[in-house]
């Protein structure tokens, strides 16, 4: 039954529907979080006002209201942060033992767990993603990443058989807004475990959780300068990656910016890790458990409003089951609850910014011009804030905009195939290669498909699963280097001969 019908029946109150439960929101309280009105930079273990003297506002995307002012780090601020990181590397972090480094990281992991709810609420306020996701996925994974990497710090001799490793020095890291604190953890934890120090720039729309993480570092008595946060937008990031005294650049974000970073650092000896965009294929074979597959497709594209680099944004469904899958998808999409991210029942929260919402709107508009076979959920949207209904384009041509461009929103494209070879060929028909999904009850078919897919992460009969022990990263224009697992240490060390 669709939501519309459900609402109608509520209004008419016929005898055949004696009672209908009204929806009751389950709001998470926000008073656990205290947000400073004016935030500083975190350099050399202290919160310092920016030399640039500039500040900018960060908003709650679910309401469009201002949450706080953030400092905008200029060239001089970035330089101070890199100097602090270099000093900490030379004097402290490269001097202490791996065991000692591990102790700090374990401490950090535990402190994050203790303040987990506070982090979850803050992240949802600043990012717009549902509280059930920050509470159950983002923040637990943040703690897990620190805990996992902590254990590596004194075991690096086991990491790369036959080789000793040494740290690179100072890492400059630039992260996106879709998983703000989780991306910070993915970057900081392995860098620190392997003996590097860090200057990190959070995304300009989602910096608050990083600043709370800085408080955790203070509580953990992490030596000054080992991690520094410079808030700001693209210009701050460009200053950081161009700084002469960093040895390593780790970037997660769009493919276009990734390419410009590669070009900006050409001719230097900076090591790079690039986690870029994707247009991941989600293959559903006719022998799949269809209801589970539909649930997987929903999770694949609508998790985190579709703001996921590995989102399963291209559904490839075997022709014989297209109609039933599309029908079930529509039904399931009508049940998705879009709205207040602070409501514990919300499935799809706010789009992170006005800018991103406009981008999604314009791509959907273009998609509808190319292909009128469009469906969107009939759910009501909140009056305030930035929201987008979950939607899909059915029978999307491989060459169409919605099949090729990363939308980074709750927009799915659907096309069909007839044979496994065709499914693999269509899935690989992209410049990206981050992830892919396969649904089938036949093991040998799954392995054959997984082998043929050119992507760094393959989810078979599941999707969007993440774990600190599991390497993450792409092929081709989805970037290079891995984060997570033993392989995630590799980008932060020199493997000696």
């Amino acid at each position: 039954m669709t939501r519309k019908k459900l609402n109608q029946s509520t209004e008419t109150k016929t005898a055949s529907t004696p009672f209908v439960f009204e929806y009751s929101p389950a709001p998470q309280e926000t008073n656990i979080v205290k947000i400073e009105k004016k935030n500083k930079l975190f350099i050399d273990g202290k919160f310092v006002a920016p030399k640039s003297g500039k500040y900018f506002a960060t908003l709650n995307p679910a309401t469009g209201e201002k949450l706080a002012d953030l400092a905008e780090a200029g060239k001089q601020d970035v330089d101070l942060a890199v100097k602090a990181a270099r000093k900490a590397y030379k004097n402290v972090w490269s001097k202490i033992s791996g065991e000692e480094r591990g102790r700090y990281l374990f401490r950090i992991a535990r402190l994050i767990q203790e303040r987990a709810r506070e982090f979850a609420v803050l992240e949802t306020l600043d990012n717009g993603k549902p509280i059930k996701e920050t509470r159950d996925i983002d923040i637990p994974l943040v703690a897990a990443h620190f805990f996992y990497n902590a254990g590596w710090a004194d075991k690096l001799n086991y990491a790369f058989p036959g080789h000793q490793v040494s740290p690179l020095g100072v890492a400059g890291q630039v992260i996106p807004w879709n998983f703000p604190l989780l991306m910070a953890a993915w970057k900081i934890a392995p860098a620190l475990a392997t003996g590097n120090t860090v200057v990190l720039k959070p995304a300009e729309t989602t910096s608050l959780s990083a600043l709370l993480l800085a408080r955790i570092f203070q509580e953990a008595e992490l030596p000054d300068g080992v991690v520094n946060f410079v808030t700001g937008a693209g210009e701050t990031g460009a200053e950081l990656v161009a700084h002469k005294d960093i040895n390593k650049v780790a970037f997660t974000g769009s493919t276009d910016i990734g390419k410009s970073i590669v070009q900006a650092t050409a001719g230097t000896n900076k090591r790079l890790t690039m986690e870029l965009g994707g247009k991941s294929a989600h293959i559903v074979y006719e022998d799949a458990a269809i209801d589970q597959a539909v649930e997987g497709v929903i999770n694949g594209i609508f998790f985190n409003q579709g703001h996921v680099c590995c989102a399963g944004s291209r559904l490839l469904v075997e022709e014989s089951i297209q109609d039933i899958v599309v029908k079930k998808l529509k039904r399931r999409m009508e049940e998705l609850r879009v709205g207040d991210p602070m409501d514990k029942n919300t499935d799809i929260g706010a789009i992170n910014s006005k800018e991103q919402l406009n981008k999604i709107h314009s791509l959907v508009k273009k998609g509808r011009e190319e292909n009128p076979d469009f469906f969107e959920s009939s759910c009501p949207l909140p009056k305030k804030g930035y929201f987008h209904r979950p939607c899909f384009f059915n029978n999307a041509a491989s060459s169409s905009t919605v099949s090729r461009v990363e939308i980074f929103g709750p927009v799915l494209s659907i096309s069909t195939f007839r044979t496994p070879d065709e499914a693999i060929a269509k899935a690989n028909d992209t410049n990206f290669g981050l992830a892919a999904g396969i649904w089938s009850e036949k093991g040998s078919k799954i392995h054959k498909t997984a082998l043929g897919l050119k992507a760094g992460i393959i989810w078979a009969n599941t999707y969007n699963k993440f774990d600190p022990t599991s390497p993450f990263g792409g092929y081709f224009e989805s970037g290079f280097g891995r984060e997570g697992g033993r392989h995630g240490l590799l980008p932060y060390v020199e493997v000696n001969s």
Binding site: K259, D467, G485, R486
Partner: protein, 283 residues
């Protein structure tokens, strides 16, 4: 009675065949420290380069899907063939590079040893660098390295046979295919090397060898969208910078490090991708 020697026409090696450059251009090379002609070598063009990439791309599915055991045997076969071709390798090293017989023999020994070393690695690097990951939940999760695709290889300017062979064989050992631009100084090595490859059951297109001008060819390598990896042994800052800037177009993986160690898993790891597969555990 003096018999006039039948001298060999040295050509390119593309797709398992020995074509002349489509451009018809040649470069003269001489016996070391003399003006006596050794051979006219082909000066490969952009089109030859593109044909090599096409051949390498076409050979990729077949080569990468061979069993690791089979690839190992083929690489070992290359060692066997190289041993039998020792005299021809020595001829090039001594006559065009001016090496002593002793030094030349050492280079051939080391090159053959590299072939044997990587022949034995085709079915082991996955075990050393793959992983079963203990994720926190009911999932089977494993990571395996797999070949990257078509790799272009710019050899060092002066021929070092063990280093050249080590790079080629470490790249193809995992299932990649390669096109190598041979050193300008020592390019005549293409003759014995290509014949070793051609007689070892290496499928056509897996290794493609070009002789010609580095300066002319490397910008086309940098911009070619079907090349995903580049091994740059030139130690030339201008070359590596161009490769990085232009190579960003399709996010090429570029390795500029000249490994000190010819026999090292690191050489294999430069051109593999790690793929991680998840599957639920349950009934």
């Amino acid at each position: 009675m003096n018999r006039l020697k039948v001298s060999k026409t040295i050509k390119l090696f593309i797709d398992g065949k020995f074509p002349r450059t489509e451009s018809g251009r040649t470069t003269d090379i001489f016996f070391s420290d003399s003006k006596k002609l050794y051979a006219h070598l082909c000066k490969a063009s952009r089109k030859d380069l593109r044909m090599s990439v096409d051949a390498a791309k076409a050979a990729l599915p077949g080569w990468s899907s061979k069993t690791a055991y089979n690839r190992g045997q083929i690489l070992y076969r290359m060692a066997e063939m190289a041993e039998a071709k020792r005299q021809e390798f020595l001829d090039v090293l001594e006559n065009t590079m001016g090496m002593s017989t002793e030094d030349a023999n050492t280079q051939v020994d080391q090159a053959i040893d590299c072939l044997v070393y990587y022949a034995g690695f085709t079915d082991k690097y996955q075990q050393v660098y793959g992983a079963v990951n203990p994720v926190s939940g009911p999932h089977h999760n494993f990571t395996t390295p797999e070949p990257m695709g078509v790799v272009a290889h710019l050899a060092s300017t002066n021929l070092n046979l063990p280093s050249l062979v080590s790079e080629i064989v470490s790249v193809i050992c995992s299932g990649n295919t390669v096109l190598t631009v041979l050193p300008e100084n020592g390019a005549a090595i293409i003759a014995p090397l290509s014949e070793v490859i051609a007689t070892s059951d290496v499928p056509g297109g897996v290794v493609n060898l070009l002789t010609g001008s580095f300066d002319e060819l490397y910008p086309h390598i940098a911009t070619h969208m079907e090349i995903i990896g580049v091994k740059d042994q030139t130690e030339n800052d201008k070359v590596s910078k161009t490769l990085q800037i232009e190579g960003a177009l399709n996010m090429k993986r570029i390795s500029t490090q000249n490994e000190e160690n010819l026999k090292d898993i690191k050489n294999i790891l430069d051109f593999v991708e790690f793929k991680t597969v998840w599957h639920p555990i349950g009934v």
